[in-house]
Symmetry: C2
């Protein structure tokens, strides 16, 4: 918990924006956080002991984390480090109870039909929301579910999935209320995140007429999430690996999804893969 | 299914290495796959109708996919595209039955304590094997669970997780029988995958004395998986974001895990984070 003194009016605003168990990390005061009543006398102690953050950084954190800073503490109790290993033991026992040889079979090989490219967001649990079992989905997750041509990381994933695993479907899955998409459209210098998030502004630029025509900011945000998924699907289709494999085998098919966090529902954006492929091949045909 | 005629002895070896429902995609013959008995007469038809693959490419696929090509078909039946949406509806109903406001709460914000950096391998389902719920783990998955300093993708994930989400723990999780690690050590030109996988050879180079001393190739492979996790943990610690945040708050702690697919067990490599941090700061200290 961080109790905030707003710099302009000095009123205690009690923003519980960091709701971790450590509780009170500092009080922000003027344009700095201070670690307690003695902080002015002992700035360096508190600089290390507590986190000293300029006020504008706090604002960044607020906007970036998608309104993480709310006035009430409604975060669920987090899983402890030790509990993870207990859960793992329970999971193993459960799997073995259903099929004694579950892990022996799993260890032999992987043969997934799906490549899933989704957001790193902790709420969009790829396999769980799809009801997919271990072995069924090859997964890449990054901030904003982006597919960038010079990113060796995601390009290696696509290349491996298409050429070696020969997946049948490639899914790009975004989600409403995406912190990455929100951050990308915020007027702030985010350091190392700038070049990554700029890809989302590039999506906005391509579709700016449609987006500027939407006056409701919430609807505009939702539409940008959808258009970002669509453009990342197109980025997948632009690759030589996908174009080549599709001509030879009729696979993979590329799909765009949005997960609506408010309902848990997966929405298929019904991207017409063959039409998109034909459309973009006017410029991007590689074979 | 692809039935293989081995090029050296011409014996039908019936490698069911691709066990998809489409079944027979081609017969490999000499140093090429052929699409059927008329393929020599109608090469272009079969080039499109069936997948024509040079023999060496088939070998690559075999070694890369971690012995995907086995002589028996033991792959589980894959989830269908339609079934995913049925599963999603069931999952929503189940979550709501436990907590009617589950998704409303989830939609408010994310506040995970964990960043998980793991392999894209379909068998290593991050949240499921940890027993973690939606909202608890921010996830990045790539081939070989690599953390590369010039990779804007993974560096954005770390930066966001540490500076904005302020995660308490960063986990790098590898797994035995990793196709990426295996492929990295194979004498083959893998095109776009070369620069990515080279990071794993760099790990081997750093630890070559220890690894060369292991005569059992299976044990050497397992040890390389462990050392790769360790080196990727060190790569996380090298970042300014982690060094800075740790000095200010005592978090995040970096952990290295290996998932043993044969048993499902998560093994904590017990990396001494503070010792590692001190050790690498001799050269990599940034603040």
């Amino acid at each position: 918990m961080i109790i905030g003194l707003r710099p302009l009016d000095g009123v205690l605003s009690a923003n519980y924006w960091n709701t971790r168990s450590e509780s009170l990390k500092g009080i922000f005061f003027g344009n700095h956080f201070a670690g307690g009543e003695n902080s002015i006398q002992r700035p360096f102690y508190f600089l290390r002991k507590f986190k000293i953050v300029p006020f504008w950084k706090c604002l960044n954190a607020l906007s970036f984390a998608g309104m993480r800073a709310l006035t009430t503490d409604n975060s669920p109790k987090m899983i402890s480090y030790e509990k993870i290993f207990e859960n793992n033991a329970e999971w193993i026992a459960k799997k073995k109870a259903t099929d004694a040889e579950f892990f022996e079979k799993l260890a032999i090989d992987q043969n997934p039909d799906y490549l899933y490219i989704g957001c790193s967001d902790s709420r969009v649990t790829a396999e769980e929301m799809m009801g997919a079992k271990p072995g069924e989905v090859f997964v890449h997750r990054n901030i904003g579910n982006l597919v960038v041509s010079i990113d060796v990381n995601v390009m290696s994933v696509i290349n491996y999935a298409v050429n070696y695993l020969q997946v049948k479907h490639i899914i790009v899955c975004g989600h409403y209320n995406c912190g990455g998409v929100k951050a990308a459209m915020t007027q702030e210098d985010m350091g190392i995140l700038n070049p990554w998030l700029r890809n989302i502004r590039d999506v906005f630029r391509i579709h700016k007429e449609e987006l500027h025509a939407i006056t409701d900011s919430k609807k505009q945000f939702d539409r940008l999430v959808e258009l970002n998924v669509r453009e990342q699907c197109i980025n997948v289709i632009k690759t030589a690996a996908v174009q080549k494999q599709f001509i030879h085998t009729g696979y993979p098919i590329v799909h765009g999804w949005v997960m609506d966090i408010k309902s848990g529902r997966l929405i298929d954006l019904q991207i017409d893969f063959e039409k998109e492929l034909k459309g973009i091949q006017e410029i991007y045909r590689l074979i």
